[in-house]
């Protein structure tokens, strides 16, 4: 704990330094902006010079804060979050803020193959952990595709989210010979690659209310989704809801792996550097980071993945 306390001191020191340097830069930009504005007011008949003065100040302020926030994000994650997680989860836990689950895993999971292929794939906050000797890797992932529209002959392009949230891979004690995909029940499935996958109707009405299951093989889907595993998935879903995670949960089983994704938006969101770090820490606000990670790790226990064959 002493170590964590000393890290908090360092992060706070860095933050104070950033706040001071922000004030300095804002003063410089406001002075330059004010001079140009006043010059424009007294010596020029054109209002554009005044606007230019205001623009200098706004652009300077935004770029300063954005650069400082980027730097603070690095410090916060590399120093504070790494130490916090080491302190809470021990040695069987590795946190790499810059890394993320590779896109080939994302594609192989088939979780989002009912949507267009991603044109842009990014991520951060890779966590490599082991629970009851079951390996689990997860990170934030942001996959998007580029939508093109023609409005009145004009080409218009914009990015559309395929998925943004936590994407995880865990070892699974059974081997799925064909992929079995479990989507939130409301998810609309229209696109072509899914024609080969058929909906699997299962026996658990509560499970069916929450999820829809897709596979090429009705028996394989039932082999993977045993009655007890379906029950545990429902319990995990309910537990996540109780803990305030209202997002959608996706699962898929491919080969020896279980993939799952929680549509949570930002994972491990870094606070704005101008807000106080220490008081937020002391008020327990940063327990949320631990809770976010714990929820993902708890899936191993909740779904009883440690059992050798039986689920």
């Amino acid at each position: 704990m002493d170590n964590l306390e000393s890290i908090i001191e360092i992060v706070e020191k860095e933050r104070n330094g950033l706040v001071k340097s922000t004030i300095t830069w804002l003063s410089i930009y406001s002075t330059i902006g004010a001079i140009i504005y006043l010059f424009g007011m007294h010596y020029s008949s054109h209002s554009y010079l005044k606007l230019f003065g205001v623009a200098i100040f706004i652009a300077g302020a935004i770029s300063t804060m954005s650069i400082k926030q980027g730097y603070y994000k690095g410090v916060f994650k590399e120093l504070f979050l790494k130490s916090l997680f080491r302190h809470k989860f021990g040695e069987n836990f590795e946190y790499r803020p810059q890394d993320y689950i590779r896109s080939d895993f994302f594609l192989n999971s088939m979780l989002f193959s009912h949507k267009p292929m991603p044109d842009r794939y990014r991520g951060e906050d890779l966590i490599i952990a082991s629970v009851d000797s079951i390996r689990i890797n997860f990170s934030e992932v942001h996959a998007q595709y580029l939508e093109t529209q023609y409005v009145q002959g004009k080409k218009r392009q914009y990015w559309v989210d395929i998925f943004r949230g936590v994407f995880a891979i865990a070892e699974f004690p059974k081997t799925a010979k064909v992929p079995v995909v479990v989507l939130p029940n409301f998810e609309k499935v229209f696109s072509l690659p899914w024609e080969a996958l058929k909906k699997v109707k299962l026996e658990d009405p509560e499970f069916e209310e929450i999820f829809s299951v897709w596979s090429k093989d009705q028996i394989e889907a039932r082999y993977i989704l045993s009655i007890s595993l379906m029950r545990r998935m429902v319990e995990f879903y309910k537990k996540a809801r109780e803990k305030g995670f209202k997002q959608d949960i996706y699962f898929s089983f491919v080969g020896k792996y279980m993939f799952f994704a929680i549509n949570s938006g930002d994972f491990l969101r870094v606070p704005f550097y101008l807000s106080s770090f220490k008081s937020a820490y002391n008020s327990g606000k940063y327990d949320l980071y631990v809770q976010e990670v714990e929820l993902i790790l708890s899936i191993i226990e909740e779904l009883n993945l440690k059992l050798d064959i039986w689920l």
Partner: protein
């Protein structure tokens, strides 16, 4: 006349679509049943190796081993009526479960890698059989539901489509100890 032809055409289309729907669903039931057979046969294939692996260690279980071999031969011949077959399958499952359970009392056997591998394969096969039975029951439910829907039930009556029977675990299987518990230790 035109109206009559239209009504007749609509009726004919309805009959054809309903008939095809029922045939598709009945075929799905047959396919699901065949899948159970495939997995059961895979299980029969494991039995000779299992018996060979355990017989030197488990002399006190000689009667169980003989009975397992007899049941396997009987089931492989495939001449048992459905009711008796179900009973024999149930008895075989029960005996295999019992065999795996008592193997706990034989430390030398537990150290035998071949046996452990067979045990795991058998466990996986049981899971697959269970999945195949669930898939069969789902296909039966789907088919039987279609048979009950008005007005498809009229077409089903005309073409003599009969409801399929659900698979129910035989009493022997219900009584047998849970092999799964063995793997949880």
């Amino acid at each position: 006349m035109t109206a009559f032809l239209i009504v007749f055409a609509v009726f004919a289309v309805f009959v054809i679509l309903s008939y095809n729907l029922l045939v598709t669903k009945r075929n799905a039931v047959s396919n699901a049943y065949s899948s159970i057979d495939v997995y059961l046969k895979n299980r029969y294939d494991l039995i000779p190796n299992l018996v060979a692996s355990v017989k030197t260690y488990m002399e006190h279980e000689a009667n169980t081993l003989i009975r397992i071999t007899e049941l396997r031969s009987k089931l492989l011949q495939g001449q048992l009526p459905p009711g008796e077959r179900l009973k024999a399958e149930g008895e075989l499952s029960g005996l295999l479960s019992r065999l795996l359970m008592v193997s706990e009392n034989y430390p030398q056997l537990r150290a035998n890698e071949n046996f452990l591998h067979l045990q795991q394969s058998l466990a996986e096969m049981e899971e697959r059989i269970s999945a195949a039975r669930r898939a069969y029951n789902a296909a039966v439910t789907d088919y039987n539901n279609a048979l009950g829907i008005f007005p498809i039930n009229i077409i089903a009556g005309i073409f003599n489509f009969k409801p399929a029977e659900w698979f129910e675990a035989p009493e022997e299987e219900k009584k047998t100890p849970d092999v799964r518990a063995l793997f949880k230790n």
